[in-house]
Symmetry: C5
Subunit: 354 residues, 5 copies
Amino acid sequence: MLRLIKRVSKKTGLPPGTPVHIGEKKIEKTRITIIDYDKDKFQQYEAEKIEECFPFKDTPTVTWINIDGIHEVEIIEDIGKHFDLHPLLLEDIVNTGQRPKIEHFENYLFIVLKMLYYDKEETEIKSEQVSLILGSNFVISFQESIGDVFNPVRDRIRNGKGRIRKMGADYLAYSLMDAIVDSYFVILEQLGEEIEHTEEELVKNPTPETLQAIHNLKREMIFLRKSTWPLREVVSVLEREESPLIKKSTSIYLRDVYDHTFQVIDTIETFRDMLSGMLDIYLSSISNRMNAIMKVLTIIATIFIPLTFIAGIYGMNFRFMPELEWHWGYPLVLLVMVAIGVLMLFYFRKKEWL
Amino acid sequence: MLRLIKRVSKKTGLPPGTPVHIGEKKIEKTRITIIDYDKDKFQQYEAEKIEECFPFKDTPTVTWINIDGIHEVEIIEDIGKHFDLHPLLLEDIVNTGQRPKIEHFENYLFIVLKMLYYDKEETEIKSEQVSLILGSNFVISFQESIGDVFNPVRDRIRNGKGRIRKMGADYLAYSLMDAIVDSYFVILEQLGEEIEHTEEELVKNPTPETLQAIHNLKREMIFLRKSTWPLREVVSVLEREESPLIKKSTSIYLRDVYDHTFQVIDTIETFRDMLSGMLDIYLSSISNRMNAIMKVLTIIATIFIPLTFIAGIYGMNFRFMPELEWHWGYPLVLLVMVAIGVLMLFYFRKKEWL
Amino acid sequence: MLRLIKRVSKKTGLPPGTPVHIGEKKIEKTRITIIDYDKDKFQQYEAEKIEECFPFKDTPTVTWINIDGIHEVEIIEDIGKHFDLHPLLLEDIVNTGQRPKIEHFENYLFIVLKMLYYDKEETEIKSEQVSLILGSNFVISFQESIGDVFNPVRDRIRNGKGRIRKMGADYLAYSLMDAIVDSYFVILEQLGEEIEHTEEELVKNPTPETLQAIHNLKREMIFLRKSTWPLREVVSVLEREESPLIKKSTSIYLRDVYDHTFQVIDTIETFRDMLSGMLDIYLSSISNRMNAIMKVLTIIATIFIPLTFIAGIYGMNFRFMPELEWHWGYPLVLLVMVAIGVLMLFYFRKKEWL
Amino acid sequence: MLRLIKRVSKKTGLPPGTPVHIGEKKIEKTRITIIDYDKDKFQQYEAEKIEECFPFKDTPTVTWINIDGIHEVEIIEDIGKHFDLHPLLLEDIVNTGQRPKIEHFENYLFIVLKMLYYDKEETEIKSEQVSLILGSNFVISFQESIGDVFNPVRDRIRNGKGRIRKMGADYLAYSLMDAIVDSYFVILEQLGEEIEHTEEELVKNPTPETLQAIHNLKREMIFLRKSTWPLREVVSVLEREESPLIKKSTSIYLRDVYDHTFQVIDTIETFRDMLSGMLDIYLSSISNRMNAIMKVLTIIATIFIPLTFIAGIYGMNFRFMPELEWHWGYPLVLLVMVAIGVLMLFYFRKKEWL
Amino acid sequence: MLRLIKRVSKKTGLPPGTPVHIGEKKIEKTRITIIDYDKDKFQQYEAEKIEECFPFKDTPTVTWINIDGIHEVEIIEDIGKHFDLHPLLLEDIVNTGQRPKIEHFENYLFIVLKMLYYDKEETEIKSEQVSLILGSNFVISFQESIGDVFNPVRDRIRNGKGRIRKMGADYLAYSLMDAIVDSYFVILEQLGEEIEHTEEELVKNPTPETLQAIHNLKREMIFLRKSTWPLREVVSVLEREESPLIKKSTSIYLRDVYDHTFQVIDTIETFRDMLSGMLDIYLSSISNRMNAIMKVLTIIATIFIPLTFIAGIYGMNFRFMPELEWHWGYPLVLLVMVAIGVLMLFYFRKKEWL
């Protein structure tokens, strides 16, 4: 449940713009990593104190300040003060219950995204909030914990692969968003395999566990949808709206991300449709089985109940029962019984129960 | 039912603009509380008569007049006359069956909201109508009864926490709306816990009570939706539309409230999806149980009915039944019976009924 | 069915603009009532001939001509000629199968509405078509039969209550529309009570009649929706569009009617949701009952079938059955039987069937 | 199935604009009928050759050229050449799988409609494609076969009834469209009666045939929707868009047709809702019947199985069974049996199974 | 599953604009075919090296370069460099998991489509991605494998049939799109026949295989929808948007394609509705069968269980049972049994179970 609604009671009543960390504390100490680069230079190091990253605000090089851990609210507030960030924005960064969204401020863009990863132990998709602040020559990213999907981006910057070193901060922000959306595909693949597996099970031998699996997959879809629909809006706004922070050459890449989010949503919707169909199959397979059981019961009962009745007749102790005295009485009765049984079987065959 | 449709028959036929109280009378006597403040000053007191609050209309300080109780129509009409409020607006204030809405008048904005609280005794969400009138330097709020979610706002004004004392009446109105939307999260948390609890029950031991619980939760969702969708529109209109009463510095805070209402709606929709899934699970668990019962019955019946028939055969009183005279007849028949039983069991195992 | 689609075959093939009465003939003779008023004067009388109302067309006073009965097509045509009404409009007035709609003509507005009332004998909502023609200083209303929801409006005009006498024809038209929408609430209340009643029945003792009741309520909702959705559009168009016939002071009242229609629709949708939920409950309560019946059958059968089999064994007439000769044979068998029965009961308790 | 998708394989691969007849050949020889009229003159005759209608292209009178039969592609092409029609348009005329649509060309409008009629033999709605070409003073209509719903229009032209003789070609086109939409109501009436009939059957005695009837009606609705939704768009475009070919005096009549298509759609949607409700009723009536059957079985079985067991006990052949020797043993046992039976009946009554 | 989501993990982390082939490798060696034509000339030949097609870029004739096979990324990159194609576009060409889409670049249009064909062996619809690049006088098409639906277009160019030789590159692009959409109809026909066949089966003798067939058809519909809805958007954008690359004379042909995609979608939606209805029929036919089985069981059991009980009574060994000594006891009991049986049958007939 915690995945779906964050506990917010501790926040109720505070003045707006008060940053209060909402969510799990996933890391001990906040870690600050600075990557600074332009076409020619590149440096990366871990900052001890938050103040170390302030000088990069106005340098012409592109600076990426990555903050892992958002529970130490004072650090967030320090950054906010130095980079002139709006208090409501700081509040959103530390409240992990945000929907993906984009907000335009005078000197920067604020983007909230969800980074998804598949928790194999709990067989559940988990999400981590990533907030990006895009200034004219810096990007600040906030994550809940260490470990992300940005390593390929770091590699590309370090090695100067692709055009990233030649482009500005907007391209860096795009690259981070692209990495996040890319990681969605990995999750969709995993879910796709699970759906395929469940479907096979459904055809071969559906059990209540199959139903549970379908139900769980449906819940994952609900969870995924909640993250991706607003994401699509975010990217769409970014692509369409004119902002001095987004250069035209980057805008075309955002259209590409937009296409990807669309593919993600498309696949989610397709999965949802398939899961609905699988539920129908499951329910009717239960009915079919019930039918099979009923048939067996009915065949056995309708054959033997009349026969038992006949046996009962000749088990009666009336003094005057002429049949009992006949020499061929017993075999005759057996014959009648067999005849009835065979007739019944023919009847069932005609009814296509056999 | 009263939650869903207010009794309006007593109103039918009156000229429009006639304020008639519709709803429960939740309080004995109307209570009027005045809070007046600016950056430096702060005073709060309870007014005996409604006339006491009239002088505050034109002072430069921000004044918040809070009216608890809306059944004394004359008081509402007095306020209406003094503050130049439109008769239709007065009618809306006392008719508690309004949808959340916003209306622009020349000198003030009129906002109707629903304050929700969870009635633990009736395990139902209850709603109370809150009407706000935002003038250039005053806010008048109307509530159905004493007791609200505004105490944190009052505290912030009193203690000068946050920026509320430095901002105008529009920020006060925003703060009240924010407090109301915040309280929705508390209710969603409670419902979320109930859903979680019901879901566990569903997996462990679903009973008709579980179904009833799912059904009740669904009804709560219907009720919540009815309040929150129009709320979203209200906030959206407030944020987007240009109004001289809303300063630009406040507008950004309204965007924040808008985000929150969106989160509320998102969560409601997610809960609805989950409850639908739970209903499916419940229905198929009933089917599964039926299946299990049928299996036991069928196994017992199909094993013993033929055996009883055989016993019946040798219970017949025919004079000439050679088997009866055999020395090993009885053990032989027992053996045959055991053999049939074992065969049956093998058959059921093959069919995976065991 | 007649409620849902009007018989139109007799019209097929006629040139457009030919007024042909479609619908039930609900009244013997057309009744024409004229109310003429301004701030100071008021007169009301019944006209013998339609010509009596022609002089009022160009007087400065506000005139309300109410026509009860639309089957005498010649009268409608006479009015049409004198007031310069478009032939298609006349056709719409007498064809009671219209959707609520509004049409703008050069000198007047044409509004079609549905007046609803609850027919207690047939326990069905019935509708009557009301057509309004709003000119610069007159309103002509056409109804299918005598008896309407406009008496409060008439009273207000007569007594000069509210502002109606001071306002123009547009306010009169608004008042009539308001009266109609108000009457919808009365119907919703009645349906709300029926839903409540049916829901109680559903919890206590659902019978096939409960299902029928749910089904009937659903049909009423379909019927209501068909009338109210287009109504909302009509009012919305009226409120938003600039028309010289609607003064700005009246426009604010139309916004109020718009809010009301929205409340009506909201309530209908909520009722629909609730009825769907009730259907689910009903269906699963049937399943539950089936389960209960199956359990009893299975318990009885699985306990006694094996016991009967044992009795059958010792009812066999084999000559050599040592047990039969034992002195304690009979009590022993009884003991065994009791033991089996008790074991079975324990098994069922473990399975939670008891 | 042929109703839903036309066989198009024979067309695949041809260059666009190649007219290929797709659909059933419903008529032997193409029939060409020319009606030419103005306020004073009127002539109607059947043309032997297509060339006979060419002179009418530029006369000031209104000319209606009606072509019955579209399988003789050369005739269509001749018309196309003479009247300067676009090749794609010709292709659409002879391909009967079109959706209703409207296309604007420089000198004419092209409208495709579906004429519906109820085939009583196959109890199915059939459709015939009608294509209209509206020029400045002529209308060319293409139909698949002889027999249509336009006779009333012909009569009106011949007799000079209504305003048709005084108006231009646009009014003629409107009249034809109006006639088609009118005929939809006739079909809706028939379906309405069938629905009513099926509903009665459903309440009295639902059989699998009732289900089949509901299913068939649902299919008819799917078919009807497919024809009417695009029709509404066509009429809407015609009404709203400015075209020199449509005079303003005709435009108001198109609004009337638009209202009618809206009524048709409304009724279809209502019927769909009703049919869904009927399906629910049907399914739960099956469940109810199953319940009733199960009850009878369970009551009989649970009463007699224990009694039969008791009889079995005293049918055992143990030598030492004291009860058997009692003088009142037999009546006592009978008494016990009656007592058990009566107790059972009380139990069932308490459970409300009786 | 591979049909629904392409494996993209190997791409994650690469810089954007890196073309990586995603999808099955369906062909050994890339094949390049060049068709060059204008009104008078025509030449077609297979190129050995990609460089052979570069000269055609700036000739005034229309050139169609068709690439079969997209796994040799270097070739794609060569084309990209020579024709100045954006790197992201190249990436899209080789990633076969694209949605149909259109993108506007300065000197060319980029269109992604899905070519569908029915794989009879796997009884599944398969799709192949076709990318088109439309320049001012050339079209480059990329396909996954040899074999396509473009042969009729090739024939028309070769033979000069239709207007294709007289028109420009935009008409060629249109022709290719038209050929693809045309091929959808062939698939719809096949599916339509399958649906028809399944429906017949459903009425005659529904088996679990019928359910599986319905389910599979539903999945095909999900797959088709995923391809056609975005296709419609693509064509709609092409038709509406002004682009110097699309001449007005071609635009009218695109409207035709748009109509066709609409027909495709319409048919898919209709099929979906029909399949839903068929599922309902299937499920209720299972219930009906269960009912029939239950009836037989109940009738047999309720008739014979009481009779067997009576037989059991007179099988008891009490010493004092007066009936047993009666001379007519046995026939009397038989008579009573027959009477009970007949009564039961009457009861069942009254209940309409027989």
